[in-house]
């Protein structure tokens, strides 16, 4: 029966301290949050640390979340801001190209599952290479919108900017990414 519970019910129960509901929320979100963090910071270990810390903050702060409907925006906000903070503190170091990690990921995957690997590798490689060309603010906005289905209004709250700014960032990200598509096709 628990598996049929909708997300709002899970969030409400987790707010009341129900661990089983919180665990289901972890299961729902850890994958998407990890992929967001990985594509933002380009490092598996750092991405895992960010997601782990973010989920602990979520548990500790759940009672203060006034509207459970805001949960998805809130959990992405905590994760995204940690990614951006990490990138800011890292800016002295040479940027680690995002492409490395997703490439390694797919290369490792290729050894175990030969079927369809060529296409999978091409697409993942293409995406990772393209993402590396975007400024981090644009990358965050575009990923949240395109891979995590957040609205412009939600992303505006997450990034603490106006909706027009979000719209502009996503449009410019699309332009850069679309131009970068040519060599791939």
């Amino acid at each position: 029966m628990d598996t049929e519970l909708d997300e709002l019910t899970l969030v409400s129960r987790a707010q009341d301290g129900d661990l089983r509901s919180f665990e289901q929320l972890i299961t729902l979100y850890e994958g998407p949050l990890f992929r967001l963090a990985l594509r933002m910071v380009g490092d598996r270990q750092e991405a895992e640390d960010i997601v782990q810390e973010a989920l602990v903050v979520v548990w500790r702060s759940l009672p203060e979340l006034e509207d459970p409907v805001a949960f998805p925006r809130w959990i992405y906000q905590i994760t995204t801001r940690r990614c951006l903070n990490l990138l800011r503190t890292r800016d002295r170091r040479p940027a680690r190209p995002v492409v490395d990690t997703e490439l390694e990921a797919v290369a490792g995957d290729a050894e175990r599952r030969p079927d369809g690997v060529v296409e999978q590798r091409a697409t993942t490689e293409a995406l990772a290479g393209l993402l590396a060309t975007l400024p981090s603010d644009q990358r965050a906005c575009w990923l949240l919108h395109t891979f995590h289905d957040l609205t412009y209004a939600q992303i505006a709250e997450i990034m603490a900017v106006g909706e027009a700014t979000v719209r502009g960032r996503i449009a410019r990200a699309r332009k850069t990414l679309a131009e970068g598509m040519l060599p791939w096709r």
Binding site: D6, L8, Q15, A126, G168, R172
Partner: protein
């Protein structure tokens, strides 16, 4: 600090890139069909959309794009160690069983609000009509108060059930379970329906 221009990318022909993007799912409109700028933009944006779709449809299956179990395990361990029990409510002497989480403090038996919420959820979960969301104990302010509590419960209700009869059954089931397991009399069960499910 750099000022970000809110203006959006525009093609040579004057069309905004966003408009091309929004129209991707449809055949080119009259202008697009005859405009080299628009056709080129449609081709590259279409390639981007296809790439995104490819990646989204496979990413959940690629082991390297999942976090290791460490994340799940660590977060859950922290949550367990910092479990929230809410207020504690004094149980009447010599009544009720000690499950699920009655704690002896000196000679007083108390039960936590969290434990009562768990009793409520367990009592209500077999009923298909309601999904219990939040549970609040509304009265039991002091140790001197009579050993009875009120409950305020928010819930989602199944769209095909008649609420009044089902709510009556739910109130009785909850009150019975709480009294059986804590010895506390339940003076009121307010059910606030805040959502409908099962569409």
């Amino acid at each position: 600090m750099a000022v970000e221009r809110p203006s959006e990318p525009v093609l040579g022909c004057g069309r905004q890139l966003d408009d091309i993007w929004d129209n991707l799912g449809r055949p080119p409109d009259e202008h697009e069909a005859g405009c080299p700028d628009c056709l080129a933009a449609r081709a590259s944006l279409g390639g981007l959309a296809a790439l995104v779709e490819d990646v989204r449809s496979t990413e959940a299956e690629i082991p390297e794009l999942q976090p290791t179990e460490r994340v799940h395990r660590t977060v859950l361990a922290v949550a367990r160690a910092e479990v929230r029990r809410g207020r504690t409510i004094l149980m009447p002497h010599g009544e009720g069983s000690t499950e699920p989480e009655a704690e002896a403090e000196s000679d007083e038996l108390t039960v936590s609000e969290q434990a009562i919420a768990e009793i409520v959820r367990r009592a209500a979960d077999p009923a298909p009509e309601f999904r219990i969301r939040r549970v609040r104990v509304t009265s039991a302010e002091s140790a001197e108060a009579p050993p009875g509590i009120g409950l305020r419960i928010t819930a989602s209700v199944h769209h095909r059930h008649a609420i009044p009869e089902a709510a009556g059954r739910l109130r009785r089931a909850i009150a019975t379970a709480v009294t059986e397991q804590t010895g506390l009399a339940v003076t009121a069960v307010d059910i606030v329906v805040e959502d409908v499910h099962g569409h």
